[in-house]
Symmetry: none
Subunit: 188 residues, 4 copies
DNA sequence: CATGAATGAGTCTTCATTCAT
DNA sequence: AATGAATGAAGACTCATTCAT
């Protein structure tokens, strides 16, 4: 983890730039002037643009993983766990939605493999949860990879849909709708 | 619609290039040599790289929209319609998954607005379907935008998950799992 | 051989630049403006600065090798051959002294190995000549590598000494002095 | 003379760096880490990179000059002097060959004038020797500059040829061969 | 004297776009 | 319509040098 990025303010500024303008349209000049430092200074902290980018993503995923793990501590019921999963993700997106855009973009871009590697720990937590749920008979017998990607896709797509519509994420509403669909589908 | 892209072979070649390498990493030189024409010739068919890119996306979305509309013709039951929606999308992704990657990437990138505009007709079909379903009492009272983006997110994320796992899309399996989750959620 | 360099005027211009300013102090901008073309055009003909540089050196060595071989055609006596070797080198330096500087610099720089490889054909001609001379008993029994590098060093150092002194090379004088020292040493 | 360079170990380390990597490819960072000091500290001892470089060269030439002068002390015969000149140079190159490479490179580079100035004292010694030899009738009537550059070129080129071949300089052999060629040429 | 983080001018290189043929 | 050589604006990256501590 690059120590430069533990300065949360700087971290968020860079994430916002990469998120709104995209990797290629974000120049090192822009980053430097956004941070109020000289361009060369960036290279003092990061080997190159790529490393800076991955640094931002890694930092963001770490925060997400830590938040989920701490929220899950001591949870018993499986349903509650899924609720926490949805809730944590929605809260995370509410605070770090620029990163959410980046994740999805890269998940469908040519850095997919790298991103999946970085998400490893996080996805493991979800996978374990789903396997446990299936063993308990609490949820359907589905490939856990499929189930988790379905949930992941729903949550992110829906949350970002709200954001692009309302410029902010109505967290409570989103959580309620998502829980409803996840647990019981769309049929009345 | 650019007539050059109605040559389905050329269309698919360019889509594959943009999909696997991304917009910025795909050079006009690569496109020219993939098509077996001179670089300058591209500019007789498209104003610039951007137009070429949008042309490819537009063409792809048109195909999708036509396929959905023709599949829906004469359908009565709402449940059947959702089934057709899922099925059409899965079939489309099976044939045009390079485009699927492009759509998702742009949906979370800085061309989101343009993409949503292009998807307008397609999304309208889905929206109408969902509103009809709610009026009939067949599905839950949800914001149709939310419902459609949830379904859309699930279908695409899940389908591309399969593809990245198995290099191909096991369509029947994907359709069955998706219908199950869409209609009844993940609870056993 | 890069066809761009067969234009002897351009070839000489670039060689002069690299020679007088050195590899690192010669910018691609300078080269472009010296040639009266755009910077990007250089990259149309050469992969990068390094290749351009090597292209110039290779072209120069080729000229040298061809000149020597054609001058040697039909020569019989060994002494005559050495005379021709000295004469050809002096004439070459008189016309291409910017390249002579480059060769020597690189011969003692970190491209020594590459340069020796490029000089391979040329050095072979000299080596063969010396071995023949030793077999005939015309010259002393010396390591041919040593003998040739001694002659080479003398000729170039001396010729460039004249040039830096008089801005031009007094060819006849240089040839006479060099033959004298090569054949009979400095003792009276 | 910069006192920092009288530490012979440091002096040799820096010379080796500049010699093997060249002026431009040697960074101040490399120099600092080779010396085990901080980059900024270099600037307490030398105004800039250029001065450091010239400092190294000057120090090296001083050593050479002192060695030659002390070796010549009390010598009578002219032939003996030439022998000492060759011998001293070969011994010097054996110990300081990284500097030998630097001298030759710069002699044919864009610092030629500066280098000749620094070599002034050394070249004067040789010039005086040759003029004396001509007056005595011991050697041929040649321009002393030509004679000295011929000898210089032969000795350095030959010595470095041996080094690049055997990774070390076989001093006795080199001296014998060089004396032979210098005094009597290459004819048998 | 020593440090090393910060600087920013300077360079190479890429690549979408143009245009004479 | 087609070509492909030429263009030049733009951007990543390097590194000698400075200066607050």
């Amino acid at each position: 983890m690059n120590p430069y990025l533990s300065d949360k303010e700087k971290f968020k500024k860079i994430a916002l730039l990469f998120s709104t303008r995209g990797y290629h349209n974000t120049t090192m000049d822009e980053i430097a002037s956004t941070l109020g430092i000289a361009k060369g200074t960036i290279y003092y902290h990061f080997k190159n643009k790529e490393e800076l980018y991955y640094g931002v993503i890694t930092e963001g995923i770490n925060i997400l993983t830590v938040q989920l793990q701490s929220a899950l501590t001591g949870t018993k019921s499986f349903e509650e766990k899924i609720r926490i999963l949805i809730s944590t993700q929605v809260d995370y997106i509410a605070e770090y939605y620029p990163l959410a855009y980046i994740y999805l973009r890269e998940l469908y871009g040519n850095r997919r493999e790298q991103l999946l590697n970085m998400l490893n720990n996080y996805l493991d937590v979800i996978n374990d949860m789903l396997i446990e749920g299936m063993n308990e008979g609490a949820i359907k017998q589905l490939d856990p990879g499929i189930a988790s990607s379905s949930i992941f896709g729903m949550v992110y797509t829906t949350a970002l849909h709200y954001i692009s519509l309302y410029k902010k994420l109505p967290s409570q509403l989103a959580k309620r709708n998502l829980e409803e669909i996840v647990f019981r589908g769309i049929l009345a």
